[in-house]
Amino acid sequence: MKVESPASPAQLAEFMRDCQNANQRIELAGARSKARMGGPIADPDVRIETKQLNHVLAYDPRDLTISVEAGMRYSDLTALLKEKKQFLPIEPPFSNEATIGGILATHSSGHRRRLFGTVRDLVIGLEFATLQGRTVQSGGMVVKNVAGLDFAKLLTGSFGTLAAITKVNFKLTPAPMGSKTFLYQNASASEVFAKRNLILKSVLQPASIDVLNPGAAATLGLPARFSILVEALGSEKVLNRYQSELAGFQAFDNDIWNGIREFTPNWLKGHPNGHVLKLSTQLMQMEKVITALPENYAAIGRAGNGILYVHTPAAATIPTGVKGAIEFSPAQRQPAEQLWPTPGNDLPLMQKIKHYFDPNSLLNPGRLYGRI
């Protein structure tokens, strides 16, 4: 296998076109932190890495926007923003190694999405290189923009199966004045979800609302019970208000969120045969799904969004009646029918789009949960 590390987006587009012309299979790679994610990486002829595309292209803090190349590491980017008291509230797993391009391609997200959304909401523009050798733009450097098609949405979560993301523009957020974490635990899941429901119906606007099952709590060093963790951002006055509203909660160490963010990477390290299921539930459905899981599974739910991450020590399947995919599995992947068991009636449309961008199925084939 050949490895190419293009030095510019233009060169990357050339490599893509050359591969297409030579009918070579391509693996697109950022930091390769998420090799166990999605569908199996088909035996490629060429690996195209983005690691040299790591430059900041434009950053005027007064505009609260930034443009970076796709190979830039998330950790480098956040360090830069921190100097200017700004931040990107993504909080993705593998946050030390992950590149911006990889985060987008896999639609990686984190605990603060209740308040800030995901990269889907934070990207204001991007550029990508196609197998035809085209460089295509979506959006731009302004925070509101409807000119052209919103290809950024299509590329987000496409697992590099359509094109290679080369540049990304974000809107930024001023860094919060302070943050505070609150914890409530109970042996009964329904008590924990009752707390969650009160918050959802209240006027509080926490950044994060995560629910853990006893397995996940124990893994994080907490007593093995159902738990709800809430993160509030703001001034001291605001944080005090949360304190007084969140009856029954105890203030807790903010560092717990590092453990939450890196939960999946740590789990995978400790469980070579481990799987991680990503389940998309409705808010009111989550309790039923989390309580039905076996005891040796560790589950973390974004309880303000409905996303449930289920960590298992060995092979597992998506529970019936629940939507989702096997997000991480060992190198020996399961077949597509298990990785992504219930695609909607729009799958043919997705396949049509794949075929348009990649008629010979050369680009990360099967990476989108074996189906695309």
Binding site: V146, P174, I307
Partner: protein
């Protein structure tokens, strides 16, 4: 990847009688309009272009929409979806005639599920009706275009509409979870869902904002949000436009995050005040309407910080609306601005350029310069917080040359927006109005890819032809020059 572009010449041919009969059989006599006097109502939107459809049909269900599309294909008709016709870029204009599919009778809110923060609606539901249906329970639908009393969810999805409060809450695409769509080939399916992050390509995201050129939207699954505890609205009054514009940068620089920052320049605020008596000072050169929402403690702090920012930029007066009535009055002025303009000028042309927030001051000065150059009055009312300018060019189409001058002035303003790193449209869409400017903002590769994409789903170019891309790149070949007859 060869493209099969069909000829969609607008040479007049009679509407096939069989198609008419089959549409009536499908939808009923009363759901089909084709008398000339009726069609005249459907030949325009809120912009300046016009063209009459050959027939307007009013389906009531997604299944009927699908069957209408099947019939249109069978009879080789072109078709376009229509919401309320409030679009400002000619998106809904049937450039080649054909069938117009009105969603006016698909106006049912089908499901409200507050616990799950979702609602499912037919696409003809009026934007404001979604919020009205849930507000007594403390929820709202965030995208709030100034036209929200009239415009529909389908139109919002097509244009990816924004509004004053999208500064904080995001635009339509951030609040649409799934769509019920009929594609130009007649296939009918559901994208996305009630849940977030469903695996697969984000078709909801790519269809939203495609300006009614990719799919007909029959229904949508929307996200609802919880109302904030406290809302504070302030009016900051200035003696110079520059000071007001500088305040916008100052607010961003001070890390304050209001939910809305709207600006009216002197010309505009006088027109608005005369029409609405909202209490704007007649002698000021600019005002900012700034809103903070959220938890009581956070809002109170922010109001204080905003006051400091305004004072640092020489604001003459800083008024905090003392109650809901006063707040509504301030917003009434803002939301009825176009009506106010209409009282004074028979014709106006609204632009929608966006610039980085640090470039607002110079952009305004450039807009005034361009107005002088063409001898036209241009007043400004806009979403300053996200740099989304709305210069309103006043003209009189009865005076020869004025419409042309207004269009040239508009193009020059938008070219300037591009030159400072901005965009030709923040929320109104490219439509048939700004097609040629696309070449200034996007590379050839980008335009070719947009064209291929349209072609992929609509190889016969049946759905809303002649939009979004420059003529020549556009799907189909338009033989008729876009333009207005008055």
């Amino acid at each position: 990847m060869s493209s099969t572009v069909s000829d969609v010449s607008s040479k007049k041919h009679a509407f096939p009688a069989a198609a008419r009969q089959e549409l009536i059989a499908l939808l009923g006599e009363r759901a089909v309009l084709d008398r000339r006097e009726d069609l005249t109502l459907y030949e325009y939107d809120g912009g300046v272009d016009k063209h009459r459809p050959d027939m307007v049909v009013f389906p009531k269900t997604a299944e009927q929409v699908k069957k209408v599309v099947d019939l249109a294909r069978k009879h080789h008709l072109q078709f376009v979806g229509r919401g309320a016709g409030t679009g400002l870029s000619g998106g809904v204009i049937p450039r080649c005639g054909g069938l117009m599919v009105s969603f006016a009778r698909m106006n049912q809110i089908e499901k409200i599920d507050l616990e799950n923060e979702r609602t499912e609606v037919q696409s003809g539901v009026v934007n404001l009706d979604v919020t009205l249906a849930v507000q007594t329970n403390g929820y709202f639908f965030a995208p709030d275009p100034s036209s929200q009393r009239a415009c529909t969810i389908g139109g919002n999805v097509a244009e990816n509409a924004g509004g004053p409060h999208t500064l904080a809450y995001g635009v339509t695409t951030n609040h649409v979870m799934g769509l019920d769509v009929v594609m130009p080939d007649g296939s009918h399916f559901q994208t996305g869902g009630l849940e977030q992050d469903l695996p697969g390509l984000d078709l909801t995201g790519i269809i939203t904002g495609s300006e009614g050129t990719m799919a007909l939207v029959a229904g949508a699954k929307l996200r609802l949000m919880r109302q904030p505890e406290l809302v504070k609205t302030v009016l900051a009054i200035y003696n110079t436009t520059k000071d007001a514009a500088d305040t916008v940068s100052e607010i961003t620089a001070r890390s304050i995050t209001p939910v809305a920052v709207e600006m009216l320049d002197g010309e505009m605020l006088r027109m608005v005040e005369e029409a609405t008596h909202a209490g704007y000072p007649m002698d000021a050169q600019a005002v900012l309407l700034i809103e903070m929402e959220g938890l009581r403690e956070a809002v109170e702090e922010q109001v204080e910080q905003v006051r400091l920012a305004c004072e640092a930029c020489h604001c003459r007066e800083f008024r905090i609306a003392k109650d809901a009535a006063e707040r509504d009055l301030l917003w009434k002025g803002r939301k009825n601005a176009f009506g106010a303009v209409g009282r004074l000028s028979p014709f106006y042309y609204v632009q929608d350029g966006v610039v980085p927030r640090t470039r607002i001051t110079e952009t305004l000065l450039e807009i005034y310069r361009i107005g002088e150059k063409y001898g036209l009055k241009i007043s400004n009312i806009f979403h300053a917080g996200d740099g989304n300018m709305h210069p309103i060019i006043l003209f009189d189409a009865r005076i020869p040359g004025q419409l042309k001058a207004a269009q040239l002035a508009g193009d020059e303003i938008l070219s300037y927006c591009i030159s400072v790193g901005g965009s030709i449209t923040g929320e109104h869409g490219v439509g048939m109005e700004k097609m040629e400017l696309m070449t200034k903002q996007f590379s050839e590769d980008t335009l070719d890819t947009i064209k291929d994409f349209k072609n992929l789903f609509d190889p016969e170019c049946r759905l809303n032809p002649g939009k979004l891309l420059p003529l020549g790149k556009c799907c189909g070949e338009i033989h008729q020059q876009a333009g207005t007859e008055y």
